[in-house]
Amino acid sequence: MKLANKYLPAILLFLAFLVGAFFRFYKLGETPTGLYVDEASLGYNAYSIYKTGLDEYGKSFPVMFRSFSTFQSPVYSYLLVPLIHFLDLSIFSVRLLSALFGVLSIPLLYLLAQKLYPAPRTNNHEPITNNFALISSLLLALSPWHINYSRTAYETNVALFFLLLGSFFLLNALKKPWLFLLSALSFVISMMAYRAEIIIVPILVLVFAIRYSGTLLTNSKRYLLPIFASLALAMVLFLPTIQIMGTSGFQARSSTLNIFASSGPHPWGYQEGTGLLHDLINNPQILAAREFISLYSSYLSPRYLFSLGDSGPRLPYPGMGTFFVWQFPLYLIGLYFLIKDKYLKDFKYFVFTLLLISPVPAALTRDPYSTLRSLPLVIPQILIISFGLVKLREILPPLSSKLKLSLVALLLIYSSVRMFISIFYLNDYFNSKFWNYGWEMVVEDIKKLDPKLPIMVDSSRGDSYILMMFFLKYDPVLYQQENFEVPVADYYTSLTRSDTKKLGNITVKSIVWGPDTDEVEQYLVADYLAMSEVQIRDHNLTIIKEISFPDGKVALRILKTNPKTR
């Protein structure tokens, strides 16, 4: 019995790890069906670096990838290179990295939670099983929010892993000061993996320094050298990013999305009008501050957490919020007892710091409740829910512990099956149109077309060229020779974009009605909105192939023009 108790935490942690791995790896390359352009860009640029050492624009090992002039953080693409070497370029290999870091975050959260919330001890000073750390890792394994980003290629998931790793090393560095070095390394990787962390990490480190200033100052001789070495390492590693921070490329995304930016749309609440009163009520700083508070508040509001979820079309699984509804009372209980608690100071500092700073980068942008930009928030919220569950167990009437455990297990199994249905049966049916469904099939089909005729792919509704390149595994050397967007010297400063991309006999551009549809004999590839039945009839186009969404509606069409018969 004692032996079973001894190994029970390890068994349960392994179980959490297995469940988490199942939800992250199962059908990874198949669902979400299709590939979002950002994922394709991360994957193709990694492929290009692997093959040539240059990105799609011919820049050697860039500090940030130009992508669609949005400048993607580089870590994800660089980490993909070895995976592409072994697995080749595919939807599976591109998403595998995110899934791997998602799964590794589960035991990492266990270790972090153990550090923050040490196992209570019996009267004989024997440690009692640390339920809290186990519950936290199990809830992360089953978190719809975390699973969502683990099953898709987004940099934010990798950044979160390194944020957790950095925090873990930081907390342990008080005992082993040289761990400051590993902490600095992890934090810098985190900041280079996703931009939101550039705001979160420094504040987290600052709060840590304030919290432990007494310990650090009294033992300054012990800590001084490791801290300076860590700061120096961080500076050296982050210097290339700092160097480009002033460029228009780096700032392009933030200046269009930032609610405090002077350019772009008016802040929420702006009213047209002239005169002193209008000037007063339309004060941009006040309106932007009000909008910021409203957005910030939404990240902590139960409506968004437990009901609405993300506002983006690709992100929430059908019928699911960011957390399960039954976790709402646990969240309230956890929050209440955590505020009241007087002993778990390290835990409180960590949870509240991360809880309060994680929404800041996301709330600075106009998008409502972006779970992508606020992903680090999943950690403090899961820790609070877990704390709520532990406290509820304590305050509940004296039911047998087996009964309590069975109730929790039943709830988790029920939620897991619900999530399984949503991810693997419903999501592709309801959301496939937001995942660029069908381009992989288009690429297979155009290989069978007459090679003498040119192919024109419509790009009026997105960067379809990257999907073509991804699925064709188009030779990066050829692409770099055939296309020019900016000189390498202007890579980070010029935001100009080329409207037309050449991939051999394939041209990717916005189709022009008349010249492209009536005058040249060629194949056209376009989505259902660009080429309706009426337009096909009016321009005498022949349908070669129609690719349908899982719900049966037309997603993409391959057509042939007939200029002679017209």
């Binding site: 508070i293 409203s294 509001s301 409506r303 968004y304 437990f306 409740y369 099956v417 249905i421 049966y425």
Partner: protein, 271 residues
């Protein structure tokens, strides 16, 4: 000075929602204002320690059938105090009024048929290969559950009261600015201190009864005015706390709160 700042802030908190409500709903606002006034009368009786104050809740379903659940939920909070005879009379009145209001309540409620939601549900069921599993997880109760859940969380959303539901406004709602946005600070302080407040029983009971009763309604817009008094009182708890702190705190708060609230009021009036 302190009193002036306190009372001006209090007036701004209490005037915002009803004032903007009347501005936006000139013709059909009276019923909902009367419902909020019923709670005001109840509060007056409660403060006077009138034993049977909860009988005022029975007026609400008579004002609008959609409030049918309010007296049912609210009475649960007074269960320990209530005498058997009072409960019987209360129940008889409630059953009697429900005879007249049930049909109208049903028309307003989340239980009204929703063909679009029903189609989506059928689609979900058809997508799951195992029919029994599909029916366990996706059945007719889903439609009501989803609407109930959405309503409850809309009522629990601070942005509903302080930011006109921004950033996720509800298309068919008025999305009223119910309180000056900086009052969210007072609300959060008030919420935290509520557990120690002597007022907590009345505030919590009316707040929860209000939230649960309007969660049963398809579109709770306008009906949510019934939450006006409990939420304003929570803000007042927070305001009182700030004015018990050293002057620098309440002066700083008033310096921000008063001009920004007046500006917000002006913005809405000019709209």
């Amino acid at each position: 000075m302190k009193n002036l700042l306190f009372w001006t802030s209090t007036i701004l908190i209490f005037i915002f929602w009803p004032f903007l409500y009347v501005l936006s709903n000139r013709s059909d606002s009276i019923i909902f204002i009367l419902a909020a006034l019923v709670l005001l009368v109840d509060r007056f009786l409660y403060l006077r320690k009138y034993q049977y104050h909860y009988f005022t809740y029975l007026v609400l379903p008579l004002l609008h059938p959609a409030y049918l659940f309010f007296p049912i939920v609210a009475i649960l909070f007074y269960w320990s105090d209530i005498k058997k005879m009072s409960l019987v009379i209360y129940a008889v009145f409630l059953i009697f009024s429900s005879f007249f209001s049930w049909q109208s309540f049903y028309a307003y409620s989340i239980f009204t048929p929703d063909p679009l939601a029903f189609d989506t549900l059928n689609k979900k069921i058809s997508l799951v290969p195992n029919r029994n599993l599909a029916r366990l997880y996706h059945n007719k109760t889903d439609i009501f559950q989803d609407k109930f859940k959405a309503n409850i969380f809309t009522s629990l959303d601070p942005n509903n009261y302080f930011f006109a539901l921004h950033p996720r406004e509800i298309f068919e709602n008025q999305n009223l600015h119910k309180f000056p946005f900086l009052a969210i600070i007072l609300f959060l302080i008030g919420l935290y201190l509520l557990i120690k407040s002597t007022d907590r029983r009345w505030i919590v009971s009316t707040l929860l009864a209000g939230i649960f009763s309007i969660a049963m309604i398809n579109n709770q817009d306008k009906f949510d005015l019934i939450l006006y008094l409990p939420i304003s009182l929570i803000c007042l708890v927070g305001l009182k706390k700030i004015f018990t702190l050293p002057p620098v705190y309440y002066l700083f708060f008033s310096f921000l709160f008063l001009p920004l609230s007046v500006m917000e009021l002006a913005r809405i009036i000019l709209k």
